[in-house]
Symmetry: C2
């Protein structure tokens, strides 16, 4: 999936960046499961291939949705962190999950979770985004201290 600036429609621009199943799943894992490292992201139920994971991570960094930052425990190893741009995708991912649980054969447990997240509405999504922003800020401060 590569963007080409095919039109100035905001929906087109959005799907040129994130209209790709693997990018959306990477963001899902970082937003809802708190994953941060390449190995954590590799280890998911959907079994993403290593070359696709590397490609999408680079692409998301290039487009300002992720930032590389040193792993707190092994500073020479890089982790990824969310940016304001990707954190603002929370409502979109909640809608995706709600649509999936409504129409597709989702697992009962995750179906309930998607329903709860959607029912929480904007107040809950704002809370999730605020939590992610805080996490991001404290990590950035940690980088600075290093």
């Amino acid at each position: 999936m590569r963007e080409t600036g095919r039109s100035g429609c905001p929906i087109n621009l959005a799907v040129e960046i994130i209209g790709d199943r693997w990018s959306l799943l990477i963001l899902r894992d970082m937003i809802f499961a708190g994953k941060r490292s390449y190995n954590q992201l590799l280890d998911g139920d959907e079994r993403i291939a290593t070359n696709i994971l590397r490609d999408r991570l680079n692409y998301l960094v290039k487009h300002g949705l992720l930032k590389k930052s040193p792993d707190p425990d092994q500073p020479r190893r890089k982790n990824y962190r969310l940016t304001a741009r990707s954190i603002s995708l929370v409502p979109l991912l909640v809608h995706l999950g709600f649509w999936g649980q409504q129409w597709l054969p989702a697992s009962p447990k995750l179906r309930r979770r998607a329903k709860e997240l959607f029912a929480g509405g904007p107040a809950l999504w704002d809370e999730i985004m605020a939590g992610l922003r805080e996490d991001r800020a404290s990590r950035a401060a940690g980088d600075g201290a290093r």
Copy 2:
């Protein structure tokens, strides 16, 4: 883009079906621009290739997001119409557009449009969905009368 049922996560199931830029642009054109025929869909700013358009249309029909129906003027020609499943994607597409206008270099006119659609909130989205449902029902009645 092919689904494989890689996990029961509702977000994964959703992106297996619609996590593809061209599918989302086809749905955008049908929802917001009222396009219904293959030729109308082919004629877009993003210049979709004929083979991709055919492939995605078949895929969307297969997964219950579109239905083929006879063209009112040329009954032997088939058009496409939205289903309850695809109409329920309106809020998701509005969010996509809002995110695009916030973060990406969208055209000023379409940027304003995306902002208005988003600012209208659930009440406006419900109204759009109701209009589409009505349109669908009247087309279905037309099919029946033929």
